[in-house]
C-alpha cells in the first residue's frame, strides 16, 4: 500500500467514524463543521499512520484520540471566537500556574506564559494566515498536558540559549555550575574497570538507564521519577536497589573476565568506589543533543550529526 492508498484508508476510517467522533468532540460548539473536523482527523491520521498499520489499529487510534480537546484546539487555531472563550476559561489560570511551577519565579513565569500565548494565538503568518501553535496539537495526549510540555520545552530552550551566552569568565566564576563533575579523578582508573563499567551499563535496558540517570545525574526524587514513568514510587526505589546490585555484580564479573582476581576486583570496587561513581557519571553523560525543540527535526543522516554533537558535548564537559 503506497501513501495514496494509505490516505484513502485513513479517509475511509474517518468517514466511518465521523459521526461518532463529531458527537464526542462537540465540534459544532466550537464553530467547526463536521467537514472541517473530518479534514483535521484525516490530517492527524496521515501524520501518524503507517502503511503497515492494520485498519483495526487505525480505528483504535482514532477512537483513542482526545477529540473534544482536538476540536477545541483546532477551532482556536482557526480563529473561532467561541473556542477561544472556552479555551481561555479552561486553561488560562492553569497555564499561568504551570509556568510558575516551571520557572519558579513570578516575572519569568509570566514572560514564559505570555510568550506561549503569543505562539498559541499565532504571531507568525504564512500567506496572510496566522499560524497558531495549537494547529500542531493532534489530540494524542491531553491538551493541558501538551500545554505544560510546550511550556517546559520553551523554558529549556531559553535556558539553553542563556547558557550559550554565558562568557568564559562568568563560567569560571560560576565554578562548576555548567560543568559536569568529571574533572575530579586524578588517579587513573584501570582501563579494565572502565571497560567493565561500560559493558555493564550497555547491558541495561533503556528504562533502567533512564531511572539511573534521572536519579544520579538529574537529581530527581524517587517520586518525580515514578510520576515521569507512571509507576509507583516504591517500584523506582526497588529498581534502584536492584540496579546497584546488578551493576556491581556485572562489573565484578567483567573484571574477573579481564583477568583480575575476584579479590582484587572486590578491592577495586571497595577502595575506588568514588572513582567508580565518577566513571559511571562519565559513561552516563553521553547524551543531550543541543538542538532546540523548535528545530528538532533531524534530517536524513541526522544520527551522524547527533553523534558528533554528543562528542562535542562530551569534549566540552570533560574539558
Amino acid at each position: 500500500m503506497n501513501s495514496k492508498g494509505l490516505n484513502s484508508v485513513v479517509q475511509h476510517v474517518v468517514s466511518d467514524l465521523l459521526e461518532q467522533l463529531c458527537a464526542r468532540s462537540e465540534c459544532s460548539k466550537f464553530g467547526l463543521t463536521p467537514e472541517l473536523f473530518a479534514g483535521i482527523l484525516c490530517e492527524v491520521g496521515e501524520k501518524y499512520a503507517t502503511v503497515a498499520m492494520p485498519e483495526r489499529e487505525l480505528r483504535a487510534f482514532f477512537l483513542n484520540l482526545r477529540v473534544e480537546e482536538l476540536a477545541l484546539a483546532r477551532a482556536c487555531a482557526a480563529g473561532k471566537d467561541p473556542a477561544w472563550e472556552i479555551f481561555l476559561n479552561r486553561y488560562r489560570e492553569k497555564l499561568y500556574h504551570a509556568a510558575l511551577r516551571i520557572a519558579r519565579e513570578e516575572s519569568a513565569s509570566r514572560e514564559l506564559a505570555d510568550s506561549l500565548y503569543a505562539d498559541l494565538y499565532g504571531t507568525t503568518t504564512r500567506d496572510g494566515q496566522r499560524i497558531s501553535k495549537l494547529a500542531s496539537y493532534t489530540g494524542r495526549g491531553s491538551l493541558e498536558g501538551w500545554l505544560r510540555t510546550v511550556l517546559a520545552q520553551e523554558y529549556v530552550n531559553r535556558y539553553r540559549r542563556t547558557r550559550r551566552l554565558v562568557s568564559l569568565d562568568e563560567e569560571s566564576e560560576e565554578g562548576m555550575q555548567f560543568r559536569a563533575p568529571t574533572s575530579v579523578p586524578e588517579t587513573p582508573v584501570d582501563s579494565r574497570l572502565a571497560a567493565s563499567v561500560d559493558e555493564a551499563l550497555a547491558a541495561l535496558s533503556a528504562e533502567d538507564r533512564t531511572v539511573l540517570k534521572s536519579y544520579y545525574l538529574d537529581g530527581r526524587t524517587l517520586a518525580e521519577i515514578a510520576r515521569m514513568l507512571g509507576v509507583h514510587e516504591s517500584t523506582i526505589s526497588r529498581k534502584l536497589d536492584k540496579l546497584a546490585k546488578v551493576l556491581r555484580k556485572q562489573v565484578l564479573a567483567g573484571l574477573t573476565r579481564r583477568g583480575i582476581s575476584r579479590r582484587q576486583a572486590e578491592e577495586a570496587l571497595e577502595v575506588d568506589v568514588r572513582d567508580l561513581q565518577v566513571d559511571i557519571r562519565q559513561k552516563l553523560m553521553q547524551e543531550s543533543p543541543p538542538a532546540p525543540f523548535s528545530e528538532k527535526r533531524v534530517k536524513a543522516g541526522g544520527r551522524g550529526k547527533l553523534e558528533s554533537d554528543e562528542d562535542r558535548t562530551g569534549l566540552e564537559t570533560r574539558g
Binding site: 501524520k47 501518524y48 499512520a49 503507517t50 498499520m53 483513542n64 477561544w84 472563550e85 476559561n89 488560562r92 504551570a98 510558575l100 511551577r101 516551571i102 519558579r104 505570555d114 500565548y117 503569543a118 494565538y121 504571531t123 500542531s136 496539537y137 493532534t138 494524542r140 495526549g141 491531553s142 493541558e144 498536558g145 501538551w146 505544560r148 510540555t149 510546550v150 511550556l151 517546559a152 520545552q153 523554558y155 529549556v156 539553553r160 533503556a206 538507564r209 533512564t210 540517570k213 534521572s214 545525574l217 538529574d218 530527581r220 518525580e224 510520576r227 515521569m228 507512571g230 547524551e287 543531550s288 543533543p289 543541543p290 525543540f293 528538532k296 527535526r297 533531524v298 541526522g302 544520527r303
Partner: protein
C-alpha cells in the same frame, strides 16, 4: 507510526505528553524511553511538565511565598517563647502587686482605702470594715491569706496605685469607659465628621465603590437617596460619639441606626479596586475584592473622541489606520492608584486617570506609524513611564504618560 519518535529525534510535545499519560503504544513507548535514556533535556521537560500534586508542600510554598519566613522553626518557637515570657512577666507583676511584703503596708492600705467601692464587691462583707479602717494591716505585719486574695482579686486598675505610681484612680476610671465603649468608638471616630468629609474628597471618583458598600451595610435605605444625602446620613453618626461635641451640626434623620452602619462602611478601609479582562475581552473591575465584577465600557465616556490623544502628530500624517475600538477585545490591564491602562486587540489602548470613570484613547505611534498589533501586556513603573508589549513581540515605551512612544 510515521511521526513516531525515533531515538535520534526529540519526540514531539504531544508524544512526550502521551508518554507521560501512559497513552502510547508499547513500541512507541520503547522508542521514547530509548531517547529519554540518552537525552537529558527531554527528561527535564518530562519532569517539568508533570502536573502539580494536589496540596504538595512545593505548591503551597509557591502559592503563599510570603508565609515562608514563619515556617522557620526558630521564628515560630521564638514567637511562642516571647508569648510565654510576656505572660510570665505579667504574672510576676501581678503577683508582686498582690504581695503586701512587696509594697509598704501603708501603701497597700491606702490603695485599698482609696477605692472601697471597687473592692467591696469582691470581699466578704465581714472583712470589709476591717480593711476599710486599715487597722488590720497597720497592726498586723503579716496579712491574712484572705487579704492577699482580695488584693489579688482587685481589678488591674489598682496596679499603678498599689505600686505607688502616679496614675490616679479617676484617670483610670475615665479611661475605662473609653475602653469599654471601644466598639462605639469605632463607629464614632472622634473626628468622624471630618473623616467622612475627607473620604468624600479622596474617594470622589469612587462613588460607586462607596455606594456598593453602603448599600450592603444599609439595606433598608431607600433607593432614592442620592450620594450627598448619604453623606449627611454619615454625619448623623457623629453625635453618637461622646467626645466629638459636634451636636450642633447634627442633621436629624430617622434612619439613624442604619446611618451608623453606613458610616462604619464609609469609615472602614475600602478594598482596592481590582481590574481584569474577561475571556470575552471585556474590561472589568471589582470594588469588593474580586467577589463581583462589572464590565467597564470605555465608550461610555462623554467626549471620548475629543480626548483622543494622537501622540504629537496630526491624524492625517499617520501611516496605517488607527484601529477601531468598537469591537476591541481587551487583553491586558494595568492599574496603579487612579491611573488605569487597558490595551487589547488591534493596538487599542485606553487610559483613565480617575479610577476608570472617564477614559481617553491613546494611539501609540512612532514616526507616524501607528501601533496596530494586539497588546498583550501593559506595565507602568509610575504615572509617566511605562511599556506595552504586543503579540508581535514588540515593546513600546513611553516616558510621558503616553504622549510619545519609542519602539524596541
Amino acid at each position: 507510526m510515521k511521526a513516531s519518535p525515533s531515538v535520534s529525534q526529540h519526540p514531539d510535545a504531544e508524544v512526550l505528553t502521551a508518554f507521560s499519560e501512559q497513552s502510547l503504544r508499547q513500541h512507541e513507548r520503547a522508542l521514547v524511553m530509548e531517547h529519554l535514556s540518552a537525552c537529558r533535556d527531554c527528561r527535564e521537560i518530562l519532569a517539568l511538565a508533570l502536573p502539580a500534586v494536589e496540596g504538595s508542600q512545593q505548591d503551597l510554598a509557591l502559592v503563599v511565598p510570603r508565609r515562608s519566613w514563619l515556617s522557620v522553626p526558630v521564628l515560630r518557637w521564638g514567637v511562642v517563647t516571647a508569648g510565654v515570657a510576656v505572660l510570665a512577666s505579667a504574672g510576676f507583676l501581678h503577683y508582686r502587686q498582690g504581695r503586701p511584703e512587696g509594697a509598704s503596708p501603708a501603701l497597700v492600705a491606702r490603695s485599698v482605702g482609696a477605692k472601697p467601692e471597687m473592692t467591696e464587691s469582691s470581699r466578704p462583707p465581714s472583712r470589709a470594715p476591717k480593711t476599710a479602717s486599715g487597722s488590720g494591716f497597720d497592726a498586723d505585719t503579716k496579712p491574712s491569706r484572705q487579704a492577699k486574695k482580695m488584693a489579688m482579686a482587685e481589678p488591674p486598675q489598682d496596679l499603678p496605685s498599689s505600686l505607688g505610681k502616679v496614675k490616679s484612680v479617676p484617670a483610670m476610671a475615665k479611661r475605662a469607659p473609653a475602653a469599654v465603649s471601644g466598639a462605639q468608638a469605632v463607629a464614632s471616630v472622634p473626628s468622624g465628621e471630618a473623616f467622612v468629609a475627607k473620604k468624600q474628597n479622596s474617594f470622589a471618583t469612587q462613588n460607586q465603590r462607596r455606594d456598593a458598600l453602603q448599600n450592603r451595610a444599609t439595606e433598608q435605605n431607600t433607593s432614592d437617596e442620592d450620594d450627598s444625602e448619604r453623606l449627611v446620613v454619615g454625619k448623623a453618626k457623629a453625635p453618637v460619639a461622646p467626645e466629638t461635641g459636634s451636636a450642633g451640626k447634627v442633621t436629624p434623620n430617622p434612619a439613624a441606626p442604619s446611618a451608623a452602619e453606613s458610616a462604619i462602611a464609609a469609615a472602614l478601609p475600602l478594598p482596592p479596586t481590582q481590574w481584569t479582562t474577561s475571556s470575552a475581552g471585556h474590561l472589568q473591575r471589582s470594588f469588593d475584592g474580586g467577589k463581583s465584577w462589572q464590565d467597564v465600557d470605555v465608550r461610555a465616556t462623554p467626549g471620548l473622541d475629543a480626548n483622543l490623544a494622537v501622540t504629537g502628530k496630526d491624524k492625517n500624517e499617520l501611516k496605517g489606520t488607527a484601529p477601531s475600538y468598537s469591537s476591541a477585545r481587551f487583553r491586558a490591564v494595568f492599574a496603579a492608584g487612579n491611573d488605569v491602562w487597558a490595551g487589547g486587540s488591534g493596538g487599542v489602548l485606553f487610559h483613565s486617570s480617575d479610577g476608570g470613570d472617564t477614559w481617553a484613547r491613546v494611539i501609540p505611534s512612532v514616526g507616524g506609524v501607528v501601533l496596530t498589533a494586539d497588546i498583550t501586556a501593559v506595565e507602568f513603573a509610575d504615572s509617566q513611564y511605562g511599556k506595552i508589549t504586543t503579540a508581535a513581540g514588540e515593546i513600546w515605551a513611553t516616558a510621558d504618560c503616553g504622549q510619545s512612544w519609542q519602539k524596541h
